[in-house]
Amino acid sequence: MDKHPKDWRFAQANKEALLTLGAYALYFIWWYVCAYGMGSGDPEQYEYVFGLPEWFFYSCIVGYPLITILLWAVVRFKFKDMPLDEELDEKTGEKR
């Protein structure tokens, strides 16, 4: 693996990009389901949480801290630190 440091870094970067897209998709689903799922009815029938309509409370007020926590977990457990410079090549004696 050390022989191809660039390959390793790019493969990891691809994985991270996919995870990012996954988190984005999850945020979208949460946002969409809460907003239109709970909010499509008649405003007279709305339930309220802390004075806000239920759909708004869950999709916006809860949705955004939730995605932040999810992101923290993804970054903490799935993202890897890596050197960004080309210095790594010198270690393997391999000049680009």
Binding site: Q12, Y24, Y46, F56, S59, C60, T68, V75, L84
Partner: protein, 490 residues
């Protein structure tokens, strides 16, 4: 001391602080001794940003006048539905960093890229791509900066009562000067300060609004009494239909990857840890700011229900609800948002002229053919001249520029999205694809914006993105087969 003076004090304090930062940054970049070292420092800060600063600078260059005045103004008219729409912007920071992230940073370092154009040049090895991108960037940025200048000066006028020109001079001249003096380092540091100012400002205004309305529950019930549509996800009389809202996921979510002032940040951070931190901090802060600002606009309707235009909502709430000093802090918030957008654009325009066009074509890409002193002078002069041109245009805005501004953000996305993102991940991408994508993307966007065909509520950016994507892929395959038969692949 009268009230307007009290309002202006926080603004002045804040502008002075920006200058201090610029001078410090200037001193710091004095230490780099070569022409190339200076360029790298002036235009990208020697790739030294840490996580907090990176997060702040992405947020600040992304949020502009519309996040603080325009957006909440629409929220005032359309209620919670517009806050829902605004929340689509929450993932912008992590999406930009996560998708471009490491790969982009590695490529930029490997190719010694300082600007987006450098990267595109290295990736596609094509003069046509570079020139098209530089021209698109210069034209669209000048128009976008103009709109920001006008927005800022009008806001200043509404809140303080001073004439339009005073506000324009006050913050227009400061932003041009500190950007010119301090370069990228000053821009990102002032961005960080501006980010903090913005966060404080939105909290203050939101609390003031909820307080004045007698608590959240009362505010919402008054809104419902005005029009029940204000508390539904589709707005009064279904003014915010689903297809329109969903196109914003393309416009602000995916499209952000095509905005050069934001993507350039992804080249300038220090290490991968800085990027990880920035993804989380950035998401947390941008969500907070957008939620507070737009919610304040919506709830403001319960307090001042009869305003003639939505754009007046934020300024009127400030004047009505806050003490003069806090009003000054709040006005510094949107001014900060405007300045931080302008400063990064200004620097990129200057970089496009000096690095991408002048040094590359006049000096054959060899910066060391100019002395350090003259390259410093030239970078500074160029930034000042571009800034002053926009400033002068903002005194009496010419129709043409106002008109171009309509296309600025969509146009930038159409031009840069595919060449940057697909070029990064798809090995077969080549210059034929990039050129056709830029021309067809920008063309489609302009045509759709002018003709306004009925598209069932879908924003013009959606078909534009599809068109430029198709053009990119088809163009790349065409270019590929041509270079295979001609054996001219470089």
């Amino acid at each position: 001391m009268n009230n307007t003076m009290m309002t202006v004090i926080p603004v002045i304090l804040y502008l002075t602080m920006s200058f201090g930062v610029a001078l410090w940054a200037r001193k710091k970049s004095e230490s780099s001794g070569s022409s190339k070292g200076f360029l790298e420092d002036y235009f990208i800060g020697g790739r030294s940003m840490g996580g907090m600063v990176l997060a702040m600078t992405i947020i600040a260059s992304y949020t502009s006048a519309s996040s603080f005045v325009g957006g909440p103004g629409v929220a005032y008219k359309l209620g919670l539905s517009w806050v829902l729409l605004a929340m689509i912007q929450v993932p912008t920071t992590f999406l930009t960093l996560g998708i471009l992230g490491k790969r982009f940073a590695i490529m930029a370092r490997r190719t010694d890229s300082v600007t987006i154009t450098d990267y595109l040049r290295a990736r596609y090895k094509s003069d046509a791509v570079v020139i098209l991108c530089s021209v698109a960037l210069i034209v669209f940025f000048m128009a976008a900066m103009l709109a920001q200048f006008i927005g800022g000066a009008r806001l200043f006028q509404t809140v303080t009562g001073y004439p339009y020109i005073v506000g324009l001079i006050l913050f227009g001249v400061s932003v041009v000067l500190y950007t010119a003096i301090g370069g990228f380092r000053a821009v990102v540091l002032t961005d960080a300060i501006q980010g903090i100012v913005m966060v404080v400002a939105v909290v203050v205004i939101l609390l003031a609004v909820i307080n004045a309305g007698g608590g959240m529950e009362n505010c919402i019930q008054s809104l419902k009494a005005i029009d029940p549509g204000l508390i539904t996800p589709t707005g009064p009389k279904d003014a915010v239909p689903q297809p329109f809202v969903l196109s914003f996921w393309v416009l602000v979510g995916i499209g952000i990857l095509g905005l050069p002032q934001t993507t350039q940040r992804c080249m300038g951070y220090r290490d991968s840890k800085a990027m990880h931190d920035a993804m989380i901090i950035g998401t947390l802060l941008i969500g907070f700011m957008i939620l507070c600002a737009h919610l304040a606009g919506t709830l403001g309707r319960a307090i001042l229900p009869e305003l003639p235009a939505g754009d007046l909502a934020m300024p009127s709430l400030i004047v009505e609800l806050l003490s003069p000093v806090w009003a000054g802090v709040f006005i510094a918030g949107p001014l900060a948002a405007i300045m931080s957008t302008v400063d990064s654009m200004l620097l990129l325009v200057s970089a496009a002229i000096i690095k991408d066009l002048y040094i590359h074509y006049r000096l054959k890409g060899d910066a060391s053919r100019m002395t350090l002193v003259s390259i410093k002078k030239m970078s500074l002069v160029c930034t000042v001249v571009v800034g002053l041109m926009v400033f002068v245009a903002a005194i009496q805005p010419p129709d043409l520029l106002v008109w171009i501004n309509l296309f600025a953000f969509g146009g930038l996305e159409a031009a840069f999205l595919c060449p940057i993102v697909i070029g990064l991940y798809w090995e077969k991408a080549n210059s034929t694809g990039a050129i056709s994508s830029i021309i067809i993307g920008v063309g489609t966007f302009i045509v759709l914006t002018i003709m306004k065909p009925a598209m069932g509520g879908v924003h013009a950016i959606v078909p534009t993105t599809l068109a430029s994507l198709t053009a990119f892929v088809l163009g790349s395959y065409a270019g590929l087969s041509r270079s295979k038969t001609g054996q001219a692949a470089g």
